[in-house]
Every structure is written in C-alpha cells, then in structure tokens.
C-alpha cells in the first residue's frame, strides 16, 4: 500500500493504482469526460488534471494515468487546475455549442462560455474523447472506427468514410459516447439497424420474436467465444 495525500487527506492506495482511482475510492470527486473503466485511459480531455508536488517539483498531470507514489501530495482544486478545467470546458462549449451534456457539465462547475471563441458549426457534439474508438478496439475487438486527419479537423469514423466490413453493428460506440454524437438508427419494423453508413439485418429472438442484434454481431461473438451460432439466436432476456 502506498501512502499519499490528496486534498490534505491522508490516503492509502494500492501500488499501481492511479490518482483518480485512489481519489474515487476515498470519496474525493475529480471530474472526467474521456475516462471509462473498461478502456485504457487516453488522457485526452485533461479535465481530471490535478496538481502534484513531489519533493521540490510541482506540476500538473492527468489523474487518470498518473500512478500513486509514496509521499505524493495531490491538490485537485488548485488555481492552476481550476484554470485548466475552465479553459477545457469553454473550448468544448465553443466546439460543440449544441451539446447539452457539455453545457450542463460546465454549469455544474461554474464555467461560463467564452464569448471570444466563435462557436463551430460543423463538429456536431463530438468532443473527440476517443471512447468510441477505444471501446471498439479494446472491448469489442474489431477496430471498425478510427481517426482521420489531425488537429481540429480530426474526425472519428470508418476508414475512408465508407461502410466498414469490420463493423458488426453492435452499437457499443454509440452506447459509450458521452454526448450522443454517434447516431444509431432502426427501421420502423426493427428489422434493420443503421450505423456508420451501414445497414445491418437484425436477428429475431427464437423465443420472444424481438429483433435484438445484428447477424454480423452474433456471428462475431460465435467466432470469438466458440459458442455455436444457434445458441446465440435467443435474446438475453429469454436465456
């Protein structure tokens, strides 16, 4: 166990755990946007930034990645940290003016929009938190979506913005997207699902008849787990 101090509170944390995890386990709240328990932390939103002092050196680091160290002194609310969080939220509000999620988060944290940042009109509500791409790669394992371009033009999508052969239509990306930017639609009958410009034929449950998953997704699960496809034609509720 590692002894450190977070916001003047003496904390004990397991070796290898991040400052974020140590804080959360001890009731200390640190805001996050791009963090997800099931994927590798990317440290891209910078909202979870904290100020750490180690010996003589003080610096700002992201708590989602920085691992606890003996004798570390952490301040989750220092002036420098609050300034970083304020700027991040102002920048995101300007990038995604339509996003309720971002606006509410900013309001909750007492951050007002910066009038000198001209709002974008072409980014939708994508804040480039990377969770969709990471989930598709690490949790689902098909890597159907990725990033194109760089800088502010960076965009999430399928290679060459074409329907992807790798996409199994599972919708994990849409599920995990914090701002609802990724659109997944269904036909009125439920027989079809649309996501990333691809149409998926949905399978009806053998028992209840509800259309519950794309054929490709069940085939993929069968391939990955070895469970025969026929066994997968029953929906989760009916199993």
């Amino acid at each position: 166990m590692i002894n450190l101090v977070i916001d003047n509170k003496k904390i004990q944390a397991e070796e290898g755990s991040t400052i974020l995890k140590a804080a959360q386990s001890n009731g200390i709240e640190i805001p996050t946007l791009c963090y997800h328990d099931e994927i590798t932390a990317s440290g891209s939103c910078r909202l979870c930034s904290v100020e750490i002092t180690k010996g003589e050196r003080t610096r700002i680091v992201t708590s989602c990645i920085y691992q606890v160290e003996k004798g570390l002194i952490v301040n989750t609310q220092s002036k420098r940290v609050l300034n970083v969080r304020r700027l991040v939220l102002q920048l995101l509000m300007a990038r995604c003016p339509e996003s309720e999620v971002i606006r509410e988060l900013a309001e909750k944290m007492g951050v007002k929009p910066q009038p000198r940042f001209k709002p974008d009109e072409d980014k939708g509500t994508c804040i480039l938190c990377r969770q969709c791409v990471e989930v598709c790669e690490e949790v689902v394992g098909v890597s159907a979506i990725g990033f194109s371009y760089r800088g502010a033009d960076k965009a999430v999508g399928t290679p060459f913005v074409e329907p992807s052969r790798a996409c199994i239509g599972c919708g994990a990306c849409a599920y995990v997207c914090p701002t609802g930017h990724i659109k997944m639609g269904e036909s009125e009958s439920g027989k079809e699902r649309f996501i990333w410009d691809k149409t998926f034929k949905m399978v009806a449950c053998k028992v209840c008849g509800r259309y519950f998953a794309p054929q490709e997704q069940l085939e993929y699960i069968s391939k990955k787990t070895g469970v025969p496809l026929s066994k997968l034609y029953t929906c989760v509720n009916c199993r």
Binding site: S44, Y66, F117, R150, A152
Partner: protein, 581 residues
C-alpha cells in the same frame, strides 16, 4: 581487432588520396542549400566543360560547409596549393575557374577564401594543402578560419560537412572516422563509454538539453533484454536545417555515434527516423548504412567483438509532432503519430514498450569526438552547465545567412553582428527568434545574453534545436506570434483539448488583432489562456505553444496596443489595418 586495425589503416590511406589527390580536384557544395542556390547547374556546367576541354580533373560533391550566404560554393584543391573556395558561382564562372587552374592565374573570378592547412578536431592530425611558400596570386585571399563568419566557430558536430563527399566512407575514415568505434570496441567497457559521455557534459542538442550520459546510463540499467537506440531526424522547426546538413553532409558521424551508444547501452537494433521532406538525407544515410555494413562496422559480431548492431531507416510522413519522442515511437511502430503521457519514461518503456534511448542527430554526431578527445577536453569548451558547441541556423534579416557551430556561451550580439555581419539593407535589428515554435523572441536590450541551455530560458525563450531567426524593423511581432500559432494549429495531433482547441482559438484572436477586429482585453485573454494551455497540454507541442505569444506580449506590448487600440501596424505588415490608414 587486428582486422579492424588493418581495414582502417588501409581505408584511411585510400581516403586521404581521395581527399587530396595527386591531380586537381574540384568539389561543389551540393547539400539542399547549395542545390537551392543553383549548385547543380554549376556542377553540370563544370562536368561539361571538363569533358569538353578533356581536362584531367576530378569533380566531386560535398555537403554544407555553412557559408550558405555565399552559395553556390566551389572548392578547388590543386596539389601543393592552398585549397581555394569560390563563392556565388554561376555556370558563367566555370570557364574562368578552369582557366585559373590550367593557366595558373585567377582572372575574372576571384576566390573568396583559402585554407592552407587544416587541424582535424577529432584527432589533431593535420591536412596540409599548401606545401612551400604562399604563391603571390593567393596572398590577398583571406584564410577561411580568419573571416568573420568562421573566426569564432569550433566545428565538432559539423567537422566534416563541406569537406568530404558524404557518399565516400573512405574520406570519412581518412578524417578520423570509425577510429573512435575501434577505440571503444577494443579498449573500453560499456560503463567506461558512458562515463566519458556523462563526464563530457553533453546535453541533448535537439533542444531538450537532458544529460546524454545520464540517459544512456538509465537505459543501460533499465530492465529488458531487448533495447533500442533511436536517432531523431525529424527536424521540424521552421528555419532550422542543422540536422539536415549533418545527415546530408556527414551521415557516418551519426552512424558511428549510434554504434558507440548502442554498445554502451546494450542495444542491438537502431532506428534513424528521418522526416519525409529530407530526401537527400534519406539517400545519404541509406548509402552510408550499406557502406558501413560492407566494411563490417554494422552487422553481427562486429569485428569479432561479440557486439552485434544494425540500423534501419524509417521515414516520417509530414508531421511536426513526430519530432516528439513518444509520437516518433508511435510512428515507428506504424501507428498514428500521437504522443502519450511521459509519466513513465521511454527510457524504460519506449519503442514496443522496451527500453529506448532517443537522441538528436547533432547529439549523436558529437559522440565520436568525445570518445576520441576525451571528456575533459569537451567539457572545457562551452559555458557553465552547457559544455561543447551548438550548431545554429542563422537565418532571416541578417547578412551572413548560414550554418554555424559555436561554443556554448557565445552571446547573441556576437552571433548577429560578429558572425552574422549585422542587418542588411540599412535596416535596424528588432528581435531574434530562437527555439522555433516552442521558443520566443528576444529584443535588442537582451542581446548581450550568452546562448546556452539555461540563459535564454530565463528570459522567456529557449535555445531550442538551433534555429535562430533574425528580425528587423520591417517585421510585425504580432504577425510573428500569429504565424507560429497558425503553424502549430496545423501540426497539432488533435488528441488533447487544450492544444487542439486552445491553439486555434489563440490564432483566431491573433488573426482578429492583425485584421483590426480585436477587442480590448484580448491580450489579457491570450495570457490567461496561455497558462492553462501550458499546464493542460498532453505534450510539449501544446505545452510550449503559447511561448511565442507570451514572449512577444512581454517585449513588444506596444505593438499589440497599437494594433488593438489604434488599429495600426507600426511595421506596416498587417495590410488590413495598414491599408485603412
């Protein structure tokens, strides 16, 4: 090592004959800078005329000797005579230059400078060009080492640039090349090599200034059987071409440095990451690697030392951010060039999660000389905690534009006026920009500052990789800040919010200021944003992006005020406001 001894001795002799042959040799400076000035036309004209007149003259190529402001440069080496350098040569001068050789008199084209003899810095051996008395027709030609541009220079990293054909490994050997490797393999334990480099005080020449020896030691001690040494050849600062010149003009200096470093660290595989926009450097390095392999300096069980090592070249794909070490390694692995947090060092978990030692081109090029001359000698050159020399690209509004290598501690004033010759066209000095997009502008009040890793940082700039842009009063400092933010906006990888979104918002505000659309409070807003961007960015691209803005606000606030309050551009650059006058 007997085989290595005899190979080196044999090739040194061969190289010497190639450097100073028994018949006349003409060398044309054919680095990118030379070619851009027209050197290829001169080379072809010489080749044609030599053939036409059936002259028994050897025509060769060399890299960048540094005097870019006088290019195209042509060196004539006649046996027993001083080496003569002709400058600003055009195809029209070819006949005159050849006449001087065949008829023995300089007619229409006078040589710019001469060299009677050279002291090789790596081994203190002499190369004598002139034997006997100085011929009368040459007496008026100044010695290269005495002209202002070269007087204060000490060429360690660029010791061979302009003096060898980079495609000729024997010439590299003749000037002391690969003897340091021999010394290391036959006589020095890896620990001793690290001691020498550490004791020399060599610090990363890419701008980071981290102790090279300490890095090597840490990598050697890191856990893991497989380790890598990497050369960062992704030089990206606008105006900087130090690494390009070394890679093009003396690729073996980098290779030899890397073999020595790999031996010290215990790495058996090396990578040179070269930006895609340097095709000549890639060509030169590729050829040099194959030659080194042929001679046995690379490969398995090098000269039966038990040490094996190979180098691969990897090309960039047009991203400034790939000069950042973790982004470079991601790119080497075939992934998108995006940096990652450096809380866990690449020394322990770098390329493919293995211990990796990354050094800049110029850093590697220093290594053979440190091994040969020793750490005491090297550490005596320089200033305080910055030992040795630094290569700078002196560009912009300065008379003597070129590549210089000077001891750390030389002042900005010496560089701009003594070496650089001052400001041309009767203009006045305004500022010097150092450190590229990560650096800042220094006004005339501070030009007595010595240049090293630490002094410039104290005043809000940094020495950086060596790009030094001189600016006169026709330059608008707000426009300079805008330029750098625009550059960084285009190069941001886009991973983290503060850089991806913050830098472009700064650029937008600067655009507004330059166009007369600014608001009172814009400067304060830029300052406020800057601190958050510095603190919040994931890597040093974003982390240092506000520097050009902050340093111009600090030293040229009145220019910002004029743009914002009076809608005027004092330098007359911002056309949208100047025009409205």
């Amino acid at each position: 090592m007997a085989k290595m001894d005899s190979l080196l001795t044999k090739m040194k002799e061969k190289g010497m004959k190639s450097l100073s042959p028994s018949k006349t040799k003409i060398t044309v400076g054919m680095a990118t800078c030379g070619i851009a000035s027209g050197a290829e036309l001169v080379y072809n004209a010489l080749a044609d005329e030599i053939e036409k007149q059936k002259l028994d003259i050897i025509l060769s190529k060399a890299g960048c000797i540094g005097m870019c402001y006088r290019e195209p440069l042509v060196d004539v080496i006649e046996p027993n005579r001083p080496r003569l350098t002709y400058s600003k040569v055009t195809p029209k001068n070819v006949i005159a230059i050849l006449n001087q050789i065949t008829e023995g008199k300089s007619k229409d084209k006078k040589p710019y400078c001469r060299i009677d003899e050279e002291d090789l810095i790596i081994n203190e051996e002499k190369i004598r060009y002139l034997t006997g008395a100085l011929p009368d027709d040459i007496k008026a030609i100044p010695l290269m080492k005495e002209i202002d541009f070269y007087k204060k220079q000490i060429k360690i990293a660029t010791r061979n640039c302009g003096f060898i054909n980079p495609g000729n490994i024997d010439e590299y050997i003749a000037r002391g090349g690969y003897f340091s490797l021999q010394k290391v393999l036959s006589n020095m334990e890896p620990g001793k090599v690290i001691e020498e480099v550490e004791g020399s005080g060599l610090r990363g020449r890419g701008g980071g200034g981290f102790s090279t020896g300490f890095k090597w030691r840490s990598c050697r001690n890191a856990t893991g059987e497989i380790k890598y040494v990497i050369c960062n050849g992704d030089e990206g600062d606008p105006g900087a071409y130090m690494d390009r010149s070394i890679m093009e003009g003396d690729p073996h200096s980098v290779i030899e440095g890397m073999i020595i470093g790999a031996y010290a660290i215990g790495a058996h595989e090396g990578y040179i990451y070269v930006r895609d926009e340097y095709p000549l450097a890639v060509k030169a390095l590729t050829l040099a690697i194959s030659q080194a392999k042929e001679y046995g300096f690379l490969g398995k069980d090098i000269f039966k030392s038990g040490f094996s090592f190979d180098i691969n070249i990897s090309k960039g794909a047009g991203a400034f951010v790939c000069g950042e070490s973790t982004a470079l390694m991601a790119s080497l692995e075939g992934k998108a060039g995006e940096p990652r947090a450096k809380y866990i060092h690449t020394i322990e978990h770098g390329l493919w999660d293995r211990p990796s030692n990354l050094n800049n081109v110029e850093t590697w090029a220093n290594v053979p000389v440190i091994i040969s001359r020793g750490r005491e000698w090297f550490s005596k050159i320089g200033y305080k905690k910055s030992t040795g020399t630094k290569v700078f690209s002196l560009v912009g509004n300065v008379k003597n534009i070129g590549l210089i290598e000077i001891p750390m501690g030389t002042t900005l004033k010496e560089i701009i006026y003594d070496i650089g010759g001052g400001i041309p066209k009767g203009e006045k000095f305004k500022a010097v920009q150092t450190g590229g997009p990560s650096g800042g502008c220094i006004p005339k009040e501070l030009i007595d500052l010595p240049v090293d890793f630490d002094e410039l940082t104290k005043v809000g700039s940094m020495m950086g990789s060596g790009g030094m842009i001189i600016m006169d009063e026709t330059i608008c400092m707000v426009d300079v800040a805008r330029y750098f933010e625009e550059f960084l906006e285009g190069e941001s990888c886009g991973k983290c919010v503060p850089c991806r979104e913050g830098v472009r918002r700064m650029r937008e505000i600067l655009d507004d200021i330059c166009k007369g659309n600014s608001k009172e409070g814009d400067v304060e807003l830029l300052e406020d944003m800057s601190q958050a961007i510095i603190d919040g960015s994931l890597c040093a691209l974003g982390g240092s992006a506000p520097n050009p803005v902050l340093s111009t606000i600090k030293y040229f606030r009145d220019e910002y005020n004029a743009h914002i309050r009076e809608k005027k551009c004092p330098a007359g650059v911002c056309t949208e406001i100047t025009r409205s006058d």
